[in-house]
Amino acid sequence: MTWLWFFAKIGVALGIIFSLGPVCIMGDRKISAWIQGRVGPNRVGPWGTFQPIADILKLMMKEVIVPDGVDKVLFLGGPLIVFIAPVFGYCVIPFGNQIGEEKLQVVNLDIGLLFIMSVLSVGVYGITLGGWASNNKFSLMGSLRASAQLISYELTFGLTMLLVVMMSASADPLKSASVDLSKIVLHQAEYGWNIFGGATWWGLPSGLIGFVLLFTCAMAENNRLPFDMAECEAELVGGYHTEYSGMGFAMYMFSEYCSMILSASLIVTLFLGGWSFPYLTDPADHSFLAGVISIGVFFTKICIILFLYIQLRWTLPRFRYDQVMSLGWKTFLPLALVNIGYMAVIGVFLEKP
């Protein structure tokens, strides 16, 4: 029975990724068309909804060109690493409330947050190796830029996760949520979402700043447009995947959306209360219906965050590379450190739960 539940939960987790991924690709093109006053894809299926399927089929049938002078193993392995990292990370995201005894989380790891931190970093390897193996100077530049940018924003990412751990801590060791993601969500369902500062109103500025930091860092980690230093068509031809054709290229594109979905789920889990919503879900209700409702709430929240991602892409001008790095190191890192210091002081002196 446990194993049946386990495979059912894998089905839901992979279902979220593999259903939202194509929807994201489609949504990206439709929303950008809407913002730019175009029609967007509208030929394949009703309103162009089958476009992602047609794209995938076309790319699968395309010849995979492995140029001369590339490191073949790394060239073919790069897209695989980039794909595996975000999808693997999804196994600790709690996507719903408990049903009976089973927590709706593929694997209920105690160290969920640390696991996510480590798995997210692996994606950098795929980009760096893919770019380096391509035997292309511009790909090399793109992948180096991408890796430097990713690791710079990884710092603020980690520190903001630390802030969430502090918000979910409690004076009673047994009640403390620690780094267990499902307990962090339960804590938020009980005391209020972390974006509003967790248990006390004193945490409000800390929560808001932390949310903005995590959101922006997630955007930078995914190489989304204001931070698309890895691709930057204007300077580096096509960035780290210039030499890729067919399915290798498709995997890079698809895994960008996979990591967007993972980041959105992480933002929702850490700051926006996960599957909980006031008056709609009850943490103590472990019935099947309540579980399904909580999955629905979680899904809706992810969709809202993803819409924000796509909409911001066409709203903000893109950065120059030195601006990206100085934003990460000179603004975000000190801000995150000050934020943690503030949270520590109010946590120790003002808050006594």
């Binding site: 699968m60 995979v64 002078g69 794909f83 593929v106 640390l114 980690g158 630390l162 890192l333």
Partner: protein, 117 residues
């Protein structure tokens, strides 16, 4: 038990990734190599030299700095879990740690380690 589940999940994800990446490559896609087609595209003109060249040392410095600060983040996690139990003494001790960290960042900044030119 838990880690067996993690391993099974990783196996499933890896199989999915392998299937998606290489089904087309091995079974569906044509392969008609030609000398001109197999050249690296780079930027559209014939390549002058390979890409295995030297690159800016800045990237190496960024990586070193990242390792330093990331390890400090990891050091902060045990404190963050227990900071309410540790109370004021813990706050003072982590304050000293923060001061060292902040001093390191300020030094790096002052010496121009964060500038890109």
């Amino acid at each position: 038990m838990v880690w067996a589940q993690v391993a099974i999940y990783l196996l499933i994800v890896t199989c999915l990734g392998l299937g998606m990446s290489y089904t087309g490559y091995f079974f569906l896609a044509p392969s008609r190599p030609r000398a001109l087609k197999q050249e690296a595209y780079e930027c559209g003109v014939p390549q002058m030299a390979g890409s295995r060249e030297r690159f800016s040392v800045r990237f190496y410095l960024i990586a070193i700095m990242f390792i330093l600060f990331d390890i400090e983040t990891v050091f902060l996690i045990p404190w963050a879990v227990l900071y309410k139990q540790l109370g004021v003494p813990g706050l003072v001790e982590i304050g000293i740690f923060f001061a060292v960290l902040g001093f390191g960042l300020a030094y790096l900044w002052r010496r121009g380690g964060l500038e890109w030119d």
